[in-house]
């Protein structure tokens, strides 16, 4: 029963935040100079043409009516159409979300598999090879801008060795190998940055836990080293790591804009940028809400995992 109450409370709490955000995004878009009709008609715009587009898109209505109109459609499941390509926004999001999710999942996976073991090894044998590697990867990782790393990978791996594609996206449904090849370099780029932060956090958190009394007591009980490190230490060290993962996945979902653009991946990030630049109101409003929702889902998931790991704050 506790869990249901927890979910209900969290969902109810997020609704005002999302509504608030949608209003702010709606207003901000209208406040910023630049008329969507002008972008659509470009140099061939004529006064009648602009008026016709405004009528067609409902932009001639007062703002509050436009917002209520949008909310009405939203509640009935209609997210409106992309001003330029007339593609239903729902279709656009359905095409773009999997790309962003796959990119986020792959880079999260790669970074977890490298950062956690390396961070643990670094903490267990301080000053050892793993520790030096962790420090190096950590410092280099957070100092290298991801978009530069992307360009270097394209330059040396894609163009240099001609091994992996330098850009473009092959849908999973179409061809698995092609998909993984097209996602290889982009996820590697994001994973590097994420792994750097993760390895530093894991190492610091493990060092902190390994100095605790209950670890000394576990050793006094004569438990194998593996048991002490992974069952006793890592489970405690995982708590701050999970918090970090929650924050980082927020970045992966909305922030990986530039990596998406450098590798020409049709993800949510690049959609937000192009739509914002073209004043594509329905697309921007929908993507902002979706990214906001993903943030909320990630936060709830982090809290749940928190509870699972840390009995003291277990929920329900």
């Amino acid at each position: 029963m506790g869990l249901v109450r927890f979910f209900a409370r969290r969902i109810l709490l997020t609704i005002p935040v999302l509504v608030g955000m949608s209003v702010v995004v709606f207003l901000l878009l209208r406040l910023v100079p630049g008329d969507p009709a002008q972008v659509i008609l470009g140099l061939r715009a004529t006064p009648e043409g602009l008026a016709a587009v405004h009528r067609d898109l409902g932009l001639d209505l007062p703002w509050h009516r436009q917002y209520l109109h949008w909310v009405g459609n939203f509640l009935s499941g209609d997210l409106g159409q992309d001003y330029r390509s007339h593609i239903p926004v729902a279709v656009l999001l359905r095409q773009r979300l999997p790309v962003t999710l796959e990119l986020a999942a792959l880079s999260m996976l790669v970074s977890l598999c490298t950062a956690i073991p390396l961070g643990v090894a670094a903490a267990v044998r301080r000053g050892g090879a793993a520790d030096r590697a962790a420090m190096l990867l950590g410092l280099a990782g957070i100092s290298i801008p991801d978009f530069w790393l992307a360009i270097m990978l394209i330059l040396f791996v894609a163009l240099g060795l001609g091994v992996l594609p330098s850009s473009g996206f092959m849908p999973l449904t179409q061809n698995l190998v092609g998909n993984l090849r097209s996602m290889a370099l982009p996820s590697l780029t994001l994973a590097a940055g994420l792994a750097a932060v993760l390895v530093r956090m894991t190492r610091a958190s493990m060092l902190d836990v390994l100095s605790r009394e209950y670890i000394k007591f576990a050793r006094a009980k004569g438990l194998r080293n593996r048991v002490v490190v992974y069952r006793h230490a890592l489970r405690n060290a995982a708590i701050p790591i999970i918090t970090l993962l929650g924050l980082q996945s927020g970045y992966l979902l909305g922030g990986a804009v530039i990596v998406e653009q450098v590798f020409d991946l049709p993800g949510l990030g690049s959609l937000t940028v192009t739509a914002t630049l073209e004043r594509n109101y329905p697309v921007v409003q929908a993507t902002a809400l979706l990214i906001g929702l993903l943030f909320v889902v990630v936060n709830i998931a982090t809290d749940l995992v928190y509870g699972a790991l840390n009995p003291r704050i277990r929920v329900g």
Binding site: K216, K221, G222, L223, R235, N236, P311
Partner: protein
């Protein structure tokens, strides 16, 4: 088999950069089965380090540089890490000082008990759980079956200390090292834990208990023999009765003097002036001489060796030269 645990000339040093602190300096004592030996001294005298040296559970900056620790004739210092690991928790177990921090907060109490049983007595999971319930009962925890799957934060300090004890005796160890087991508890709980330890001592006749404490009252209630440490050395050892009746070493006398006895007269308790010496720069000769009221010209020069004052009761003080 009369000598269960024989520590001879054990020396442990902490190295940090140029500084070398000889925290344990040629310490020797023996523990017989069924006996409770008190290792007593002010904090910082090296008694806890002695305990951890025996367990070979020292931090990276510390190293045992001399002596021998024979458990049942085996010299633990020559054991490999793996061999030592199997001994810990099995043949030698340890109880830590602060129950609040010694149990893993994210694992259930049952898990932390069962894992020791499965490790050393390779029992199956169900058998281990059953044994765990029995152990909790033995250390006086109410409705143990139900509490097995609770988490440490759901227990009081006293209960958690009983948990530590249960874990320690899980594999009926030959030697039980208790490092300040009651210091972190309030007085009423302290009494219960001491009663429990005494009860365990009477039931497990073959187990020897090394009780590390700074509290003579605890020594009085629990120990058969006592060893007094000062500045990394043993300054006096003997039967509890004798030591309490006729302490020989000025340091022991001072310690006992500052003990509020029930019947004693009012008035300020005498305190020992000065501070415990820095382990990297011990005073010359007898290390207690700067704070010793009975010190005379030889004390700063000559280093006293432990001389038997009466059979079974020796003291390391120049007053009792052979």
């Amino acid at each position: 088999m009369s000598r269960l645990l024989e520590v001879s000339d054990l020396t442990t040093e902490f190295r940090s950069g140029p500084r070398v602190a000889r925290v344990v300096d040629r310490v020797s004592f023996t523990l017989r089965p069924g006996e409770v030996l008190g290792l007593v001294g002010e904090s910082g005298c090296g008694k806890s380090t002695t305990g951890f040296s025996i367990m070979r559970l020292l931090p990276p900056t510390a190293r045992i540089t001399g002596g021998a620790v024979r458990l049942d004739g085996d010299n633990l210092l020559t054991k490999s890490d793996e061999e030592m690991r199997q001994i810990r928790g099995g043949r030698i177990a340890m109880i830590f000082q602060d129950p609040m921090t010694s149990l893993n907060p994210v694992l259930t109490v049952g898990e932390q008990l069962v894992e020791v049983l499965r490790e050393h007595r390779d029992m199956s999971r169900p058998d281990a759980r059953a044994e765990a319930v029995r152990l909790l009962q033995e250390v006086g925890i109410p409705s143990p079956a139900r509490r097995l799957d609770s988490y440490p934060h759901e227990f009081s300090g006293g209960m958690r200390q009983r948990m530590l004890i249960a874990i320690a005796i899980a594999c009926t160890p030959q030697v039980l090292i208790a490092d300040e087991p009651t210091t972190a508890l309030d007085v009423t709980i302290q009494a219960q834990i001491l009663r429990l330890l005494r009860q365990l001592n009477t039931e497990h006749r073959q187990t020897g208990i090394l009780l590390i404490t700074h509290d003579f009252a605890v020594v009085a209630q629990l120990c058969h023999r006592v060893v007094v440490m000062y500045a990394g050395e043993i300054v006096e050892s003997g039967d509890v009765g004798e030591i309490f009746a006729e302490p020989k070493h000025p340091y022991t006398q001072a310690l006992l003097g500052s003990l509020p006895s029930r019947g004693g007269e009012r008035g300020a308790l005498p305190a020992i002036e000065g501070l415990v010496p820095d382990p990297a720069a011990y005073p010359s000769g007898c290390r207690f001489h700067p704070r010793c009221r009975m010190a005379f010209e030889d004390c700063p020069v000559q280093h006293p060796s432990r001389i038997p004052v009466t059979p079974g009761h020796d003291a390391a003080c120049l007053l009792y030269r052979r």
